[in-house]
């Protein structure tokens, strides 16, 4: 379980998050929604150690996350993707995924130079595992291609596979369908459901309400840095404050 308690963040005089508390279970699909600029990405940045909270606490499976460096958060079993896709474009798909296995490939510093058996077998196993992860998102046929050549939707899928390579228990997805066309959205939605069914906890951010409704078991709604609702998709959809937050903004209906 990821526990967020009284989390606050300000940049200079600008308060971006205030008194945010909720729990994310390791299992199922949990959604964080809210209009643009509500502070959703900031929540992910705080969890993954890219930013330090101004107030409040964060813990995962009972371990305190505050003050940890990003790679340490990854070691605890949290992985993430980015709102603006950040794959390694000049590497092949396979290499992208194998970067995610960095700490899982157990061989000593000298292994590569002596071409030791431990090194060769770890690399071979890692490669196989990477191909399997790519097959989960149906990209294994293009494993040797440079990631830069992928379509936007496929780059997102590669980012999923790469994140899963770190063997997370909880996967944070920041607006996984932003900028996708309807067909791509449908595909990605299926991939997210598949990932969840394989036993990974999914915690996703979205600002398009319709998309999360069919996908999430539970939803938290953020507006201007504060939580205004939490509950099942049904409860959230009918919450007057949520409707107000969404209708009161220009981007309400054009969030395609």
């Amino acid at each position: 379980m990821l526990c967020i308690r009284k989390l606050g963040k300000h940049f200079g005089g600008l308060t971006v998050l205030e008194d945010v508390s909720f729990d994310v279970p390791v299992g199922g699909i949990f959604g964080l929604i809210g209009p643009n600029g509500a502070g959703k990405t900031t929540v992910f940045n705080l969890i993954t150690g890219l930013l330090r909270p101004s107030t409040g606490t964060l813990s995962f499976e009972g371990r305190d996350l505050v003050g940890l460096a990003p790679h340490q958060v990854t070691h605890l079993g949290i992985a993430r993707t980015f709102q603006n896709i950040r794959i390694f474009k000049e590497m092949t798909l396979l290499e992208n995924v194998m970067v995610g296995m960095h700490d899982k490939l157990g061989y000593g510093a000298l292994g590569p130079f002596l071409n030791s058996r431990a090194f060769r077998s770890a690399e071979a196993q890692g490669r196989e595992r990477a191909l399997e992860l790519l097959s989960w998102v149906r990209l294994e046929a293009r494993a040797e291609m440079l990631a830069d050549n992928l379509s936007y939707g496929d780059q997102r899928k590669l980012e999923f596979a790469r994140a899963l390579a770190t063997q997370p228990r909880l996967l944070l997805l920041d607006e996984p369908v932003a900028g996708m066309n309807t067909a791509e959205k449908t595909v990605l939605m299926e991939e997210i459901q598949n990932i969840s069914q394989r036993g990974f906890g999914v915690f996703l951010i979205e600002h398009d309400m319709r998309f999360v409704m069919g996908l999430c078991d539970r939803i938290v709604v953020l507006n201007f840095g504060r939580i205004i609702a939490e509950g099942s998709p049904e409860e959230v959809r009918n919450n007057p404050e949520v409707i107000e937050a969404y209708l009161g903004r220009e981007d309400a209906e054009e969030t395609v």
Partner: protein, 286 residues
């Protein structure tokens, strides 16, 4: 075979220089491979040259021990200056390492033991061709193996996107420091080889101009692989000899080359993918 002997007598220094600068170019390639724009390697080379020359001249150490010290001394310095400076990114790191190079040059210029502006004379000429070949070969082998390991992938990931790399569980700071320190050691050994090949060293050889020269070699050759930097080192070591009449303007010429390559061949002259495409072969990584 007489012509060969004559050729060697005339050009051995030049051939040695190519080998030495290939090693230095690889040392810069290593830092660039990890996204660090460091201009400190000329100074690291200088530290290696002076430390090794002094150990030969004043302490009479055997050559192999001298070379080990030539690698360790700058590596140690890199460890100390790397911890605070490697947090800087891009051009700020370039400026910090450039300033470091100037500090080293000024220290060497003003100490008695280093011979001040006159430099050091009478360094035993212990460097043999096979020393350079063996050390360069070892460096190439080591770096080539590293590229195919998780460390190599981590370097490339860091170069492309530091934040994404850290969230893959990679300790970014430690990898950068490793690349910086190892690069310093390589440059230092190259300095040691150079000092014991040329009889004489002075602070002028390891200053700002040299730092830019070395970077030019790598950018000119291409940072996509290990071959590019060495090709760049060979060409830019030979070129001034071929264009002796340009000597005064060498700095301008190097600057011009750097600008032209960056503009028209952003990946350097040695880019396997483009070369294969030129010959109608399929794309592959090199």
């Amino acid at each position: 075979m007489e012509w060969l002997a004559n050729f060697w007598a005339t050009y051995s220094t030049l051939v040695y220089s190519i080998g030495v600068y290939a090693l230095v170019a690889l040392s810069i390639w290593l830092t660039l491979a990890c996204g660090l724009l460091s201009l400190a390697n000329a100074a690291f080379m200088g530290i290696g040259a002076y430390v090794s020359a002094l150990l030969s001249l004043q302490a009479g150490w055997p050559f192999w021990a001298v070379l080990v010290a030539a690698g360790l001394a700058p590596a140690f310095v890199a460890l100390i200056i790397g911890i605070p400076t490697l947090r800087l990114s891009g051009v700020y790191l370039a400026m910090a390492t450039l300033a470091f190079g100037e500090v080293v040059r000024i220290i060497v210029l003003n100490l008695d033991i280093t011979g001040g502006p006159e430099g050091l004379n009478g360094i035993p000429q212990s460097t043999r061709g096979w020393h350079i070949v063996a050390i360069l070969g070892l460096a190439i082998y080591g770096l080539a193996r590293m590229r195919r390991s998780r460390t190599g992938r981590a370097f490339e990931a860091i170069r492309e996107d530091e934040v994404a790399a850290s969230l893959m569980g990679i300790h970014v700071g430690r990898h950068k420091l490793f690349a910086f320190v190892l690069g310093a050691a390589m440059a230092g050994v190259a300095g040691g080889l150079n000092a014991h090949a040329t009889f004489f060293i002075s602070p002028r050889e390891y200053g700002f101009e040299n730092a830019v020269d070395i970077l030019t070699m790598v950018v000119f050759g291409g940072i996509g692989g290990l071959v590019g930097p060495m090709v760049g080192a060979a060409i830019l070591t030979l070129l001034p000899e071929l264009l002796r009449f340009l000597h005064e303007f060498r700095g301008i010429f190097n600057g011009l080359v750097l600008v032209l390559v960056v503009l028209f061949l952003p990946k350097g002259i040695w880019e396997p993918r483009r070369i294969r495409a030129l010959f109608g072969l399929g794309p592959r990584e090199g």
